[in-house]
Symmetry: D2
Subunit: 344 residues, 4 copies
């Protein structure tokens, strides 16, 4: 079976394993208070043009999300999210587990608009019984979204403006940030993300690392005692430098972005093959996830050789599926797939 | 101003105050472990035909809801609710504050159907990634609902069957249960509710008591150590007998139901007056809450003399409003209102 | 049986029931946003000399404690308490239920000292691993304590100074505050308590009310959105005015304090009787709870006629017990008890 | 500086890095549902003689602790722990963050006795107000303890018997389990631990792995839906096989235990050197942590060349310190240290 199931099916970029092996016995202080993490944090601050930001190396995406949200909100406050947002659907209630409501807003493309946020804010405060309702205080977005779409600079700026005007924190889940920032049509970059968001993370797990995400906090209000929060939520890694080390490798000479670009190109080839075949798509995604709508027969044929995920049943005869590429996707695997698609 | 704002604007039925005064200096053990609560619990078990049920006297509706839900669910489980459900909208995140997600399902009449519950259950378990999602384990309904509608015996039986088949708890918020069980068209009664639900409460606050609700637990799985739960959630009243005493009065000779019937009749008169005038309704409610849609001019005219709540803006010229009657609503107040409606 | 079991065995002072009956049908807005609560809050601000304080009428002591603590602390922060403190021992984990650790400090007299607090604060911040430990941020005391002892003005001032110097909130549980402020040897009063604490409550449940406590918040940091917190924790009473009304009666013309003084006098008579008999005490309490150490035979003899609580087993032949008086304790009951003690 | 600061200062045993590199591009399903974890789990079940046990690979010790405890307890239940227990002191309130109280019992050697647990259990249920107190339901121990001491088979059996008799879960934190099971005087082994505990974890982070612990659940009551719990608490690693792979290496041919034995031998040499010098110890530890009491001058002299932790101030002239060895401690480093100790 050739895997297009997800973007975390392999270990790490070989350069990471090499450096880990080389430095394996260099002794380090625990819990991320080491020179390796310091250096990686410095690299991130420079790449993002935010010299005052705090950077925390986290073990995964859900720990990032629940720790940031629990740190940012007062007990009666909630976080606005697209209804398809990861925190609303796929974290087994991790956010609610910290005591906070996810205030879901409808979205067909996985994104939130400034207008939706503005309305949710006004609806709350304009209601005479607002003290009986969860107070919106943070906006959660992912970029790319769960379905591979990306925010434009104009969209993110509008969201950010709305949030700042209304005293809402803007937080971006960047599990696949590299894939987004190197996508066809993207006009955002790290400095823009850092300038427009109060916190965001640069995903490692899905983009070349064994594990780990780099959480960047630019808002002073979110900084104090954040390490206490990480520890309290169970997310403080003893050997913190292991994640710092990986980001050191990924951020050197743009490796992170070249890996992401590769994944996007592989995805585009796959999309092209389906499009050539006349298949339509569940959503138009410019990133490493592609959602073609397959006739059942085609789906079954491909499943014999390839692993990919069902996404949504479209009708009795068609299913939207997800093909996922990654930094590790082999050109040969994609070529084989494209040939098989053409031959359907 | 004449109040039609809500159904908890007055104190208690005078018979309650009289008995409280009479028995004021009779010494009782604390925390509801007293003969008064015992007697009231016995009355409830008899009225409901559930000799084995546990009865707890609670200080209010939100404490009932959050304590039952937190007691019933494992940390990763959630409660299905209509999107308009009180726990989803008007409890400031009290349920999430206990660590649980409210899994909101769309509803236009405030009710959930057995089919919706069945689908939500299957959707969860049919999804390969279900371990990443909140597990549905309880169904929350209110009867009457937030917008005054009621469940028929057939509907509640279907819900109950679906829940039992799938191992879900069925819990009914009965803040206004009396108004529901005496409504035009109602075919439920206390024994049916007790037989079909795993837990429910008989609301006192909105139906003649100073404060207090009688929580009835019929499911053996929900009974153990429930008093620990009440205490842990801050809901254990020191002078528990005060609530037991009130239910003793209300349940004597059907007072509870005759008070509710009065409120429904008053509401029907008001609805009739609006209907005569040709106004339509936001929803057809057979209980003590009525939701006529008023032209702005009519709304403003009535607001000069009466207090009532805005419910939803219908269009630029019309607003759905809520007129609420109660056990304490005066015939004269309703007559005045009806005359003013007719004269609009 | 004559009750000396606790101080919440009776209903309310008759004047309260009378006013509740008189005003029973006066319509009020819900949730404590009514003129009755406004008036009672004004009375409290005046009695406490804190014109800017926020006053919230709460249904009980545990709801006060958990709501204030959850509102004051960040998730990784804890509350310092005497190990015998109510929040540490008798609230079924209600504080931990809001996610916060109770940091218990040893105490033999139920009180905390400024030196203990100072040391706990320094120990935390002086430890290199402090980010792995719960950060102390609030000090919880009760006055009188669980065992009837009281803080002197000097002690409370020292605690308050230490707290302010170190950025800790000082919160006083005043479930029996009246009994404390009218005790033999007391040199505190409401203005002193209000000036020295960031928040405290004036207990009603144990001092003449049916139910309810008046929570006074003097610290600006604790004020914002506190009503959201109350609702989220399930403590917002629909008919909030019922508690306001009771405080209106109790605070009128010093009734609250004269009721408390009566209880203390009754307690002193009982203590005197035991002392005359040569019995020693578990602790020297100047308030309405007395803790004589009884030979087993005396304990059994008294239990035939009186109800009182075991407190601690002292040795095989002696048990410390608790006799509790209240605003409602009858002179005749105390006389009977004293005679029986003398006759032991 | 030569590190004796802690036992997680280096990466992983080289054999681990080699296997990770070799298998780096082998595609695996996510979240620990892969053949690598299956194999490692099988090895553990065999080594422990518990064919029915569930094994979960966790990212760290705190995630193990908080997830097991939150899964085992009902909201009003707490976990008994030595006052020096890791969950009571060094997890920033992570347990309370899941809503549960840590019920601390005094201990001078870091261990709990069966008698203490029995008494705590009886004290709770023998108290008439037990419903107002946190119900003890689990016992948390660590082996070795925070101060390096170990449980004998007799002690653990007695604890286990007491727990089973009283319906308490027994959970062992095995962050340093290997060091314990290979210690001088130890008479426990994995099958005994598995037979006597309801859950425990085999620590990887401090014993040769990059990161990761193997949580073993033998109690059927703790098994259902545990993966939901892990996800909900933020502890589900995307590339779960990375931890499985490391345990595969460590458990092959007893590597885990030979690494631990080495650390213990190194520690014993250090202890011997201090003993020779006439220094006494804070506690007698047979494992990889040693707690000599140093005169201030000796402490300062050693700090110039070695890194180690202060543990407790003994008096103005003496400090108890901690020297920690690990699987990675070099013989040469220990020789240098011993020479310097001798020369003090």
């Amino acid at each position: 079976m050739i895997q297009f199931q997800c973007d975390y099916c392999e270990g790490a970029h070989p350069a990471i394993l090499e450096l880990l092996a080389e430095t394996n016995l260099v002794q380090q202080p625990g819990y991320g208070e080491d020179p390796v993490c310091d250096k990686a944090a410095r690299m991130i601050r420079e790449l993002c043009h935010v010299p005052q930001a705090d950077v925390h190396f986290m073990v995964g995406g859900t720990p990032c999300n629940l720790t940031v949200i629990a740190a940012a909100l007062r007990p009666y406050q909630g976080v606005l999210s697209a209804d398809s947002g990861h925190i609303n659907v796929h974290e087994s209630g991790a956010i609610e587990g910290t005591g906070h409501k996810v205030l879901a807003l409808p979205s067909t493309d996985g994104k939130l608009t400034a207008a939706q946020v503005e309305k949710a804010f006004r609806d709350h405060w304009g209601d005479a019984t607002h003290q009986h309702m969860v107070q919106p205080k943070m906006v959660y977005i992912s970029n790319p979204t769960e379905i591979g779409t990306i925010y434009s600079r104009a969209e993110l700026t509008a969201l950010s403006d709305t949030c700042r005007k209304n005293g809402l924190f803007l937080y971006m889940d960047g599990a696949r940030l590299g894939y987004g920032l190197t996508a066809r049509g993207n006009d955002l970059d790290l400095p823009a993300v850092a300038a427009l968001c109060d916190a965001f993370y640069i995903g490692g797990t899905k983009q070349g690392a064994l594990l780990g995400e780099a959480l960047v906090i630019t808002s002073d209000a979110l900084k104090p005692d954040f390490r206490y929060m990480i520890k309290r939520q169970g997310g403080l890694l003893a050997k913190g430098w292991l994640i710092g080390r990986q980001f050191e490798v990924l951020l050197q000479d743009g490796l992170y972005f070249s890996l992401a670009r590769h994944a996007n190109e592989m995805a585009e080839k796959i999309a092209h093959a389906f499009r050539q075949k006349g298949y339509s798509f569940f959503i138009d995604s410019p990133t490493n996830q592609q959602f073609p709508i397959l006739p059942n027969s085609a789906r079954e044929a491909l499943l014999r050789k390839y692993s990919f995920a069902d996404w949504a049943k479209v009708d009795d005869h068609h299913t939207a599926v997800r093909f996922c590429t990654s930094w590790a996707t082999q050109q040969s695997a994609v070529d084989a797939l494209c040939a098989d698609i053409a031959a359907l």
